[in-house]
């Protein structure tokens, strides 16, 4: 873990654009690991930035109890790329290739918590792509959703929607 953090720190210092800028911001993950980031990166995270603004910049250590030290580096990486204007299709493809379904969901929640609109939009699309063309059962497992319909209710609904379960229009996927 320590190694991962330091490598993250290295990459941060390399990409630093303004070394003379004000003090770094410390983001503290839920499992108590400190990540030092440039204020410009914190700006990408609206939740963090509003916290800093509210305290007139006096407080620079921000606890993020909902985000683990596993997920935070990904978020920081994305924000770095974002401020550098280097979010490309290639970067995004590489970025999600490393992530399994659970990780994508965790990051999605983290992006929501930190209020990073771009990351949230991007991950929404990633999840949507991963469940597109899948069965209802797959989506149910993916989201861990309990079926709370009574058997009668479900049967009625399925009857009403029966045609959507048939293969009459397999070319439907671009019909958004």
């Amino acid at each position: 873990m320590a190694e991962e953090v330091s490598s993250q720190m290295n990459s941060l210092s390399i990409s630093e654009t303004n070394p003379s800028s004000s003090a770094t911001i410390s983001l503290v993950s839920g499992d108590d690991i400190v990540f030092k980031v440039e204020p410009t990166i914190a700006k990408e995270m609206e939740t963090v930035q509003s916290f800093i603004d509210e305290t007139d910049g006096k407080i620079t250590t921000i606890p993020l109890p909902n985000i683990s030290s596993h997920d935070l580096p990904y978020v920081i990486e994305y924000c770095e790329k974002s401020i550098a204007g280097k979010i490309t299709k290639e970067f995004e493809a590489e970025f999600v290739k490393k992530l399994n379904n659970e990780e994508v969901k965790e990051l999605f929640l983290a992006a929501n918590y930190l209020n990073i609109k771009k990351l949230l939009d991007f991950l929404s699309q990633v999840i949507a792509d991963r469940i597109a063309n899948k069965s209802v059962e797959y989506v149910r497992r993916y989201f861990g959703i309990e079926n709370d319909f009574t058997p009668e209710e479900e049967a009625k609904l399925r009857e009403e929607l029966a045609w959507t379960f048939t293969g009459v229009d397999p070319d439907d996927e671009d019909e958004n």
Binding site: M1, S29, G30, D31, D32, I33, S68, S69, H70, E102, K105, E106, F108, L109, N112, L120, D121, S124, Q125, I127, A128, I131, A132, N133, K134, V136, V139, R140, F143, G144, I145, E146, N147, D148, F149, E154, L157, R158, E160, L161, W163, T164, F165, V168, D169, D171, D172, E173, D174, E175, N176
Partner: protein, 214 residues
């Protein structure tokens, strides 16, 4: 303080509904309708007006939708075209499929279909934030086509058809030029709708409303 591993195990992420909506609004209409069976809250979300609007606003492709009636057997054929192809008269990438409709809708359509050679169009009307069904038909003579083309407009959720001014351009109904790949697209038909409203995708709303219309 929890370790990263513990946090991971704790959080079998169940996403809050507003976030679920963010994801679902990017899915195809067909999958969304299937997903109504998932649970009550999803059914409620997907059926809701706000979600429908959000889905529509994210919809990337502009398509025109067009329904043709066919007798023997009685059915409606749905065609959809990318908007550009209609505007520049390039007959590409159309799709054709049978439209599902239950008996109630069937009667509702038949009432219109008894006119001669009807053609249907569906469209989203931005002004009224609702969907409209437009039907063109010949009222009497087969020969004075240009004079006899009538137009009726139905607003989804209401149960009447409004007759509009006579269709000014005439239209050809006995064959579909796009399907045959010849002649001009019946673009006048679409243009009529385009002038009334900006047409967007045949989307969730109409699929859901179509069950209750009539």
């Amino acid at each position: 303080m929890a370790t990263a591993e513990e946090m991971k195990n704790d959080s079998v992420p169940s996403l809050p509904m507003d976030l679920v909506g963010e994801i679902l609004c990017r899915l195809s209409v067909k999958l969304l309708l299937q997903l109504r069976c998932m649970c009550k809250s999803w059914n409620c979300l997907i059926s809701g007006h706000n979600f429908t609007r959000k889905h529509l606003s994210l919809s990337s492709s502009l398509r025109l939708h067009y329904a043709k009636y066919k007798s023997e057997p009685h059915e409606l054929i749905h065609n959809s075209y990318p908007l550009d192809s209609v505007l520049i008269n390039i007959p590409t990438k159309f799709k054709e499929r049978r439209i599902h409709f239950d008996m109630r809708q069937y009667c509702w359509f038949l009432e219109i279909v008894t006119k001669v050679f009807p053609a249907f169009g569906f469209g989203y009307d931005r002004l009224s934030d609702n969907y409209k069904v437009v039907v063109l038909y010949y009222s009497e003579s087969y020969f004075k086509l240009f004079d006899r083309t009538k137009v009726k407009v139905h607003t989804l959720g209401t149960n009447y058809w409004r007759t509009t001014e006579t269709f000014p351009f005439g239209a050809v109904f006995d064959h579909d030029p796009i399907l045959n790949g010849v002649g001009k697209v019946p673009s006048s038909f679409f243009l009529l709708i385009l002038r009334r409203s900006l047409i967007k995708s045949f989307s969730l709303l109409i699929m859901q409303r179509s069950v209750t219309v009539g």
